[in-house]
Every structure is written in structure tokens, then in C-alpha cells.
């Protein structure tokens, strides 16, 4: 298989990239690692007139900690998050989720920014970013625009990015006594998630200050389980509070029955994963991981 013909540009700078998009953004697709886009091009589900390969903009890769945030460059590869020992204690949900993305070969090339911009409802990073309350920095000739994770995913394979914008960075707040967990059910390595759940909890004394919950593969986009999150705020992390949040999250899920399982089954997996994830996250937050 090979894609339909397209023009190809590999800009040497971000300024050049956004200049290309200013002129031809409507007919262009931005490519980072290409691990989502190239399969779509080959199947001809996507036939852009122009592919703008930003893979050579190496300064968009890497993770920095400053101003109470992790600044994750859009071109940071899944493998670099998976293998980061620093992140394992600072923000454990990131390497945990990275570990379950696609397979090792795809993780060697695929990027976190490319993955969220692809906006597959079965994508893992979207749910993680919703749980973390991350901000996405979109760059265009007009400058930077910050989009909250909760406003970023507009529908299946659709984001709030304009055709002239490039995602350059994801900002993740880091706080003391805050940690997360990612649970994923997949039939085999490399398959899309049957269901996955991202959970992040911040503790304040003995109580839950705030919680973030993101759901994968159970809707037309990565879903934020807002009612479940709210139900936990200010509560002690009792089994009853956790069970109630899990029930609300399962209610928020909108899965479809398919080859991977019935809708009813998937909703129940959401419930189990929210419970399991919350318990892990709370333990980690108490241990000072995250």
C-alpha cells in the first residue's frame, strides 16, 4: 500500500512551519512521528494535498520542569516518557500510560503531541491529559494560544486546533501529594484499548483536594468524567466515596458494543478501573510519588 500523492515540506524552523500553514493550512496535515498519519495516508482515509513534516524541529522535544509545571515538548517520543526515571516519581501516570501505547517500535517514533492532535477516541494521551488538567500550547503566526485539555478534543479525530496552528507544548501542573494511575485493557500488544482509564488525585491532609478522571475508548472522544471528579472533591478517600465516583464515571461512559466487548461490559470495566486507579493513585500520593 502507498499513499495518494502529496506535496512534502520539512521546515527547518517553527517560524517556517507556521508560515507554510498560514499559506496552505486548509489543505495540509502536520506530521510529527507519522505513526498515526502514515497508516491513514496508506489506507487513503486521509488525502491531504500537503504534508508538513515537523519531525526535524528537535527543540520541540524534551521535558522541562519549571514554574510548577512539566513542559512536555510536542515532539517528545512515547519511549522517552516510558523510560524516564524522573517522571516515575514526579508524575507516575505519564510513564505508566506510555508503557501501554501501541508497541515498542511505534513508541520509538510516535510523539505525545502527534498522538493528542490525532485525537483518536481510543488514544491514551488524551485521557491522561484530561485527568491531569493539562494545557495545550498552540502556536501560529499570531503567537501562542493556550487551550485547556477539556476544550481540546472536539470529536472523533477532531481538535480545537485551527488549520494555521501547531501544537508545540503540553503544560502539566505538578503539585505535592498528587499522583495518578493508568489502567488499560487491550486484547494484545498494539491493539487499541478495549477500555482505559486515567486517574489523577491530589490530597490535602487526609482528604481528596481534587481528582481528574479521563476515559479512553468509551465515547466519540476521550471523555472527562466530570461528575465523578466533583463527587470526590473534599471527601475522605473511603471505599464508599471511591465506589460512588466509579459508579458516576461508568455512567458518563458512552461505549459501543463491538468485537472488543459489549457496551455493558465496557461500562463495568470503567467502574473497576476507576476504583483500581483511585486506590493506586491515593497510595502513590501518600508515598509522595507524584
Amino acid at each position: 500500500m502507498f499513499p495518494a500523492a502529496f506535496d512534502y515540506r520539512a521546515p527547518a524552523s517553527l517560524a517556517e512551519a507556521v508560515d507554510i500553514l498560514r499559506q496552505r493550512g486548509e489543505e495540509a496535515k502536520v506530521m510529527a512521528g507519522g505513526q498515526s498519519l502514515i497508516p491513514l495516508l496508506k489506507l487513503r482515509f486521509s488525502q491531504p494535498a500537503l504534508v508538513v513534516d515537523i519531525g526535524r524541529l528537535h527543540n520541540l522535544a524534551g521535558i522541562e520542569r519549571r514554574d510548577g509545571h512539566l513542559h512536555v515538548g510536542a515532539l517528545t517520543k512515547h519511549v522517552d516518557i516510558e523510560r524516564s526515571t524522573e517522571l516515575r516519581s514526579l508524575c507516575p501516570i505519564l510513564p505508566e500510560a506510555a508503557h501501554w501505547i501501541a508497541d515498542p517500535l511505534v513508541r520509538n517514533q510516535g510523539t505525545v503531541g502527534g498522538s493528542v492532535c490525532h485525537a483518536d477516541p481510543a488514544g491514551d494521551w488524551g485521557s491522561v491529559m484530561l485527568a491531569l488538567g493539562a494545557d495545550f500550547v498552540a502556536h501560529s503566526e499570531a503567537g501562542d494560544r493556550v487551550i485547556h485539555a477539556a476544550d481540546f478534543f472536539a470529536g472523533p479525530f477532531t481538535t480545537a486546533l485551527r488549520p494555521d496552528e501547531i501544537l508545540t507544548e503540553i503544560r502539566i501542573p505538578v503539585a505535592a501529594h498528587s499522583a495518578g494511575a493508568y489502567n488499560k485493557l487491550e486484547r494484545k500488544v498494539g491493539d487499541f484499548a478495549t477500555v482505559a482509564v486515567a486517574v489523577q488525585v491530589t490530597l490535602d491532609g487526609g482528604k481528596i483536594k481534587s481528582a481528574g478522571i479521563g476515559l479512553t475508548s468509551v465515547g466519540d472522544r476521550n471523555l472527562k468524567a466530570a461528575d465523578a471528579e466533583k463527587s470526590l472533591a473534599g471527601k475522605e478517600p473511603t471505599d464508599a466515596a471511591i465506589a460512588e465516583a466509579a459508579r458516576l464515571a461508568a455512567q458518563a461512559a458512552e461505549p459501543k458494543s463491538d468485537i472488543r466487548g459489549s457496551a455493558e461490559y465496557k461500562k463495568d470495566v470503567v467502574r473497576v478501573f476507576v476504583q483500581r486507579g483511585l486506590k493506586t493513585a491515593i497510595t502513590r500520593a501518600r508515598e509522595g510519588k507524584g
Binding site: 500500500m1 502507498f2 506535496d7 520539512a10 507519522g34 495516508l41 501501541a102 508497541d103 517500535l105 517514533q109
Partner: protein
């Protein structure tokens, strides 16, 4: 569009459409057919090559995307008639049946041992989890990679004998 690649240490140049996949450039333009096309949908890993030492799926890369980079294919593993430790491992441990997945498996194994010279069985299994063996010969593939690790460890202890070990099986 111009593509410049160093493949197995040799510089190559080509003029291809941007839509040409790396695997097709390697097989069709360079006539290096050791890199296989299995699923053609980023699932099986038969097309694995090393790009600057990192194993990637060459069916999911554009040739123009990796222009300027250094590629290793299965043809680049042996040094003349001397098999690499990984090839010797597959030979000694019967690490292949039909052989279709073998180039990818050996390249993934080679990259793994560069990064982690003494991997556990779990680490080996995780490393090859993006490569499918349709004969389901995973037991011996794991043993083959362990065998290669042992050859390399022995060679590291006795540097002057390294080439002889690589060529002779190193039992």
C-alpha cells in the same frame, strides 16, 4: 524528491516521490529484499530496520522523512562471512521456522542488547512485543536473543577472541 541515506554503511541517493515508504525504497530502489513487508499496517514488525540504531517500522516511515539518517537492515548484520552474535544465536537456538519475521526479530534483538546487554526473559519478550512470529516460535526466539547476549558477554571478557566467537557460534 531527493533522498540521501546511509544504508549498512554505504551512502545511497535516490529521487523519489514523497509518498514512497522507506520499506519500498529499501526493497525496490536499493534491491535489499531482506527487509520484509508483512502486514503493511504497522502491526507485525517484519519490516523493522534500525534508524540511527533505533528499531522502527519501515512500512510506517516515508523515505524522505528519514533522509540524512543512517539505516541498518538485516543485510548489515553480518561482517562478511562472519555472522553477528544475534545471527549466531538464531542459528544455534533454531530461532526461526519460516524465517519471515526473522530480520525484524534479529534487528530488534540487536538494538535491545546495545541498550541492555543482559536482559531478563521478560525484558526480551517486551522488546519483541511489536514483532509477530506467525509460526509462533517465540520460545526459541527468546532463547536465540539470550544466546546472543551470552556470546557478547563472553566476547567482552576476552576481546581478542570476539571475531572468532561471532563466526563460530560461541557454544
Amino acid at each position: 524528491m531527493e533522498v540521501r541515506l546511509k544504508v549498512n554503511g554505504v551512502d545511497h541517493m535516490g529521487d523519489v516521490e514523497p509518498r514512497v515508504l522507506l520499506v519500498d525504497f529499501i526493497r525496490t530502489n536499493l534491491r535489499l529484499t531482506g527487509t520484509h513487508i508483512g502486514c503493511d499496517t504497522t502491526s507485525c514488525g517484519a519490516c523493522t530496520v534500525l534508524v540511527d540504531g533505533t528499531p522502527l517500522k519501515s512500512c510506517t516511515l516515508l523515505a524522505v522523512q528519514v533522509s540524512g539518517r543512517s539505516i541498518t537492515t538485516v543485510e548489515g548484520l553480518a561482517a562478511g562471512a562472519a555472522m553477528s552474535p544475534m545471527q549466531t544465536g538464531f542459528h544455534e537456538e533454531h530461532g526461526l521456522q519460516c524465517g519471515f519475521c526473522t530480520p525484524g526479530m534479529m534487528l530488534v534483538g540487536t538494538a535491545l542488547l546495545e541498550r541492555n546487554p543482559n536482559p531478563t526473559e521478560d525484558e526480551i519478550r517486551w522488546a519483541i512485543s511489536g514483532n509477530i512470529c506467525r509460526c509462533t516460535g517465540y520460545m526459541n526466539i527468546v532463547k536465540a536473543i539470550q544466546h546472543a547476549a551470552a556470546i557478547k558477554a563472553a566476547a567482552a571478557k576476552a576481546p581478542p577472541a570476539a571475531e572468532a566467537v561471532a563466526a563460530g557460534g560461541g557454544k
